[in-house]
Amino acid sequence: MTYLRDLGSGLLGSLRVMSRNKVGFAGLIITFVIVLTSLLSPYFVHMEMTANLDAIYQGPSAQNWLGTDYQGRDIFKQILLGGREVIYVAFLAGILSCGIGVAFGALAAILGGWFDTIATAAAELVITIPQYPLLLVLAGFIRLNSPIGLAFIIASISWGGLMLAIRAQVFSLKERDYVQAARALGLPTSHLLLKEIIPNMMSYILTNLVMRMTNAIYGQVGLIFLGVVPMAQNNWGVMYSLANRQGAIFGVNSAWYIMAPIFAIALLQFGMINMNRSLEELFNPRLRRGE
């Protein structure tokens, strides 16, 4: 019980700390709302399967909040349903890419030797090659059909920069006096890494995570737009891409069809980028006390 209470007050405390940065807290709420609705709507919202040719490209109305598409289907419902896969791939790719970057970077700095040499050389190569063209060519060569595969490919080409940065930071952090002191106290390497070193890089890692997630959204939507990834499900990228092909761009009412996914993606990314400011506040005690 006390544990639960501690956890509760801890969460409340964290929220209070994060709410100190207004813009950041707004970002946090936006992100939270979008992610939650995207994850839950598939259980509540159902898409009409048939086209309704009488109601093609209607403007917004009480019935269709964001109007209808080229088959007369409701756009708002598509927006509600279309976020899940986008977020899923972004999250998976972001976590994977950061995971590889942080793990390789930290290990290279701590182990040194041949592992360091190889990992550094690989990372340097990966960052020389322009990422997006590489992603396109890889996606073109390897026929992709699952979102997981897409996330893996995105992650596999985007870890280099973070790895080098983390390596450099761990190199310098591990020589810091407080890490040396912890070493002299006989504390294990896991403590040095997890308790002394990584917490000091948290805000950097988070910034990178968000950046990688937005990059993954870019990559995913771009690939769908270019027709390299099959358009099966409800997905904001598919909506944008179909709208383009159907020429929705050229009409005044039909523009709602193309604007809606753009707005959804922009709002999500705006939320994520600003959310970072609040999270930083949580991980940096110096910011926390407002000093």
Partner: protein, 358 residues
């Protein structure tokens, strides 16, 4: 000291070795070697990706020719050889060296889709337009971003600062090709600032390239939308970086000392603050250039601008592997070269780097 005491005969040997060491320590030389090495590695990887990976494009091509045209494997392989510039009868290692010498001569094989046109011809036709758009955009956004970023740092926590911070935080949230779409929807369709069909392509049909005024006007007219898109989507990054870098530099002791020395505000801003603050920006130049070339695939597609990006987009759709491979290598090489150029610029601006090997 050491050379003075050394024997005359030993000295020459020592001098040569120090000369060699100095030569290899040279900043510019090391960078160049690194750039060449990375292009080499990328081309090698591409070769193995195309030739040796299970389910690689070459095997797929051979299989599809056998199926659709009903030819024998041998015949299909001959056709594949001419298209991919890879002689399948030779050992893999020699195939590889052939491929490399081919690349060195600018021979990228033939396009599968475009009626057997040499890929190099396609690239020569489309690449210049993309280079033009990307370089103009890069220079514009860099220069504007640096100026605005400096202004933001000097006027920090005023409305100028807040306005541009907000501007860039909104724009970084929208992918660049979607910004392109928004431009068409609002400026083209709604407000009719330009004719949506008129700006398509890289030149108005019938316009003949040449050193003429009307040609340049026309080229800029068609390139304007992609350039605007690139500039407004990448300027935020330069602004924010320059802002924080300038603020860090303003806190440096030498700036304070320069003020104490009575230097004029103008001299301090340009010669002391600006010059130092701009240096860290060069490190992100490579990522930005790579990003812009990558973005060209999508932005050119949205605007139907005839550059190398749209060529890669159509090759992707049609699985035209030789074109994909060539465009990829070219984009990589262009990025690496631009990056090398940025490194040189950095070395030229920062004596601490330049004198590294001394």
């Amino acid at each position: 000291m050491a050379t003075l005491q050394a024997q005359p005969s030993a000295r020459s040997g020592k001098e040569i070795s120090t000369m060699l060491r100095k030569f290899f320590k040279n900043y510019y030389l090391r960078r160049t070697l690194k750039a060449v090495a990375s292009v080499f590695v990328v081309t090698t990887l591409t070769f193995f990706l195309i030739r040796l990976m299970p389910g690689n494009p070459l095997d797929i091509y051979v299989a599809s020719q056998m199926q659709t045209l009903g030819v024998s494997r041998e015949e299909a392989e001959v056709m594949a050889s001419s298209i991919f510039q890879i002689d399948l009868k030779r050992p893999v290692l020699l195939q590889y060296t052939d491929y490399l010498t081919g690349l060195l001569h600018g021979d990228f094989g033939l396009s599968i889709v475009s009626a057997r046109t040499p890929v190099s011809a396609l690239i020569l036709r489309f690449l210049p337009w993309t280079m033009f758009v990307v370089s103009v955009s890069l220079i514009l956004s860099f220069v504007l971003g640096v100026l605005i970023g400096t202004l933001m740092a000097y006027r920090r926590n005023t409305w100028v600062d807040y306005f541009f911070t907000g501007f860039s935080s909104i724009l970084t949230a929208i992918p660049d090709f979607m910004v392109a779409t928004l431009i068409i929807v609002y400026f083209g369709v709604r407000w009719k600032v330009f004719s949506v069909t008129g700006v398509r392509g890289s030149l108005t049909p019938g316009m003949v390239p040449g050193w003429r005024f009307d040609f340049f006007i026309d080229a800029f007219y068609h390139a304007a939308l992609p350039i605007i898109t690139y500039v407004i989507t990448s300027i935020g990054n330069w602004m924010l970086q320059m802002r924080s870098s300038t603020m860090a530099t303003l806190g440096e002791d030498y700036v304070m000392v320069a003020k104490a020395r009575g230097l004029s505000e103008g001299r301090i801003t340009s010669g002391y603050v600006g010059r130092n603050a701009i240096l860290p920006l060069f490190t992100t130049l490579a990522i930005m250039i790579g990003g812009m070339f990558g973005g060209s695939v999508l932005i050119e597609s949205v605007f139907t601008y005839n550059g190398i990006g749209i060529k890669l987009a159509s090759a992707l759709g049609a699985r035209d592997y030789p074109v994909m491979q060539a465009v990829f290598i070219i984009i990589t090489a262009a990025t690496v070269t631009a990056n090398l150029f940025a490194d040189f610029l950095y070395g030229w601006l920062d004596p601490r780097i330049r004198t590294e090997g001394r």
